[in-house]
Amino acid sequence: MTELTLAKAITSGLRRALADDDRVVLLGEDIGTLGGVFRVTDGLQREFGADRVMDMPLAESGIIGMAVGLAYRGFRPVVEIQFDGFIYPAFDQIVAQVAKMHYRTGGAVRMPITIRVPFGGGIGAVEHHSESPEAYFAHTAGLRVVTCSTPQDAHTMIRQAIACDDPVLFFEPKRRYWTKGEVDEDATYPFDRARVVLEGTDVTIVAYGPLVATAIDAAIAAGDDGVSVEVVDLRSLSPLDLDTVEASVSKTGRLVITHEAQQFGGLGAELAASITDRCFLHLEAAPARVTGFDTPYPSARAEEHFLPDLDRILDAVDRVLGRANALTGWSDS
């Protein structure tokens, strides 16, 4: 066991992947000499050479398209998209080529491509640097979409993503890059299962990526108030591990879903629909969503008014419990 930041846990995972399989190649802007703008690939080009850790010309579509050709040739490309808001030029190559190639070719051509995307807000950045575009990709058949919330998952899941024969969008919660935790490099567990990170009996909070820590804080605060909250870290956004969420909600009867991404058509909507379908007779209240608003991501000094926080999550916990609430005045009774 080693104590690492989440960012360095990804670095160590990438290092292991490069060492274990010589078909693994890293592509991205500024990932070589500079080590990436978040230093996630720091030192890897020096260690593995410029043929394996390649600085790329500044064109996201070009980088992903080139990764498709490398995958055709039997490589396992790992692409870094510098920031969430810069993935859109590559959208066509991702959804029209990467996602569909295996299907199109009847399974003859695999696309074991990992696309790393630092995502989410909370770092006081300018426009295009704080977005949460995961729903676009979760909506696309053929892609897998995952995110991590701890250094342990960051290390293990990046290696699992690279080893996976399907294309994986790997969303890295950039405001948690500096979170420290113990990492066991030899740990093994399933790639696409959600995890109950805190057990409880009254309300289930489902979170992923950057908001898992916030959800845990909310659960602890609710506990002080006598409410027992279970927190589920989704980890995989596509496929969704509905079995784990279903088991939790069948027990608690109440579901709060939180994500930074906008609400409309988001992961919360999919979860609310699917869990209502599966747990209808167990539900004591309609599932509640605590999300970013249906606005563009606001300027840095306004982001605290956009992002779900402890109080907004606790407000939703109160609502699913049918309690009158000081923040909204909303009451079931």
Binding site: G65, V68, G69, R73, A96, G106, G107, R144
Partner: protein, 375 residues
């Protein structure tokens, strides 16, 4: 001189004056001498040229048959290659088996030359599959329908070849319309930066559906490549011999570690964009007539007859062979069966995917409940 070398060693092969085409067989079938490109076809015998003539005749016959199959409801759609036979056959017949092709959707003659089974060529157009063949069996990728997307795949594959230490080349086919796409321009930058062994083969057929090439390019397309640091050749795309010479030169560079080359094969789309298109709304009949006089097959035929290689007997046997291939093509096409209902769930992922497996089993149960056969 067509070849210039800049101070930093980048060789540029450009016609002079601009717009001039490399041509070895004129429209009347006369052999035109070209000191730079003659050596690239010096070994092509009369019999080999007759074999190329047979290819040209067969692919045109297949193309006509496919259009007929579409009109008869056997195909949903077909993109005719009429007029572009020499550009496709000449380049494809020049490739080594280990070279890899990334094409667009009109390169059905390339697929034929790569050895794709006849019915596999029409699976996509009949709608029985999203692609017709396993790319690795013929070293030709599934054609891209999104315009220009495949050029980047070619660069990635070519860089992979460099990493693997093999001297195989990659060729990517695209049209004049595609040259406006960001992906194609990105591919040119990436190929130049990584010195990728790629042949960019642009068939300038003068049309992007209804849009004339002037809307995409105000100068000959071949002139763009040197700006990317890539030598280019502008060739008469209706001259199979010149296409072979240009492709050999480009492949020589790719196989020899000299990086990418751009070929603009100037040709004409004599048919519609697809069988759904109506070119009478936009094509000037006089322009089409001018191009009809530059037919890629007629000039080879005239040349071979002049040389005494193509006898009446040989011409008749080639025509018979083309009809046989067309009959085989038709039989293979109509025998293609519709996919089973649950096949829509196949191959979405390479690894297990629980929610999709659940959706599939629910659909299977539904189909059984209404008495339908699911598998």
């Amino acid at each position: 001189m067509r070849t210039t070398v800049s101070d930093d060693g980048i060789e540029t092969v450009l016609p002079s004056p601009p717009g001039e085409l490399v041509q070895l067989l004129d429209p009347e079938g006369n052999r035109v001498s070209d000191p730079l490109y003659d050596p690239y076809v010096a070994d092509v015998t009369g019999d080999q040229l007759a074999s190329l003539y047979e290819d040209l005749v067969i692919v045109r016959r297949l193309d006509v048959e496919a259009t007929a199959l579409q009109r008869q409801g056997q195909l949903g759609l077909w993109p005719p290659l009429l007029g572009q036979e020499a550009a496709q056959v000449g380049s494809a017949r020049t490739l080594r088996p280990d070279d890899f092709v990334f094409s667009s959707y009109r390169e059905n003659a390339v697929a034929y030359c790569r050895g794709v089974r006849l019915p596999d060529i029409v699976k996509v157009w009949r709608g029985t599959a999203q692609s017709g063949w396993d790319p690795h069996t013929v070293n030709m990728a599934t054609p891209a329908i999104v315009i220009g997307a495949q050029t980047l795949h070619a660069v990635g594959y070519a860089v992979g070849c460099l990493r693997d230490g093999v001297d195989s080349a990659t060729i990517t086919y695209f049209g004049d319309g595609a040259t406006t796409q960001g992906d194609v321009n990105e591919a040119l930058v990436f190929a130049a930066s990584f010195h990728a062994p790629v042949v960019f083969f642009c068939q300038n057929n003068q049309w992007a559906i209804s849009e004339p090439v002037g809307l995409q390019a105000q100068r000959p397309i071949a002139e763009r490549a040197p700006g990317f640091g890539i030598p280019s050749i502008r060739v008469d795309g209706n001259d199979v011999l010149a296409v072979i010479a240009a492709t050999r030169r480009a492949l020589e560079r790719a196989h020899g570690g000299e990086g990418p080359t751009f070929i603009e094969a100037v040709t004409y789309r004599m048919g519609p964009h697809t069988t759904s298109d109506d070119p009478t709304r936009y094509v000037d009949p006089l322009q089409r007539e001018e191009w009809a006089a530059k037919d890629p097959i007629g000039r080879v035929e005239a040349h071979l007859r002049e040389r005494g290689v193509l006898t009446e007997a040989l011409a008749a046997s080639i025509a018979d062979r083309a009809n046989e291939v067309a009959a085989e093509f038709r039989a293979g096409c109509v025998a293609l069966e519709n996919p089973a209902p649950l096949s829509v769930f196949d191959n979405v992922y390479a690894e297990p995917h629980a929610p999709l497996a659940r959706q599939r089993s629910q659909q299977a149960a539904y189909l059984r409940s209404i008495g339908e056969v699911a598998e």
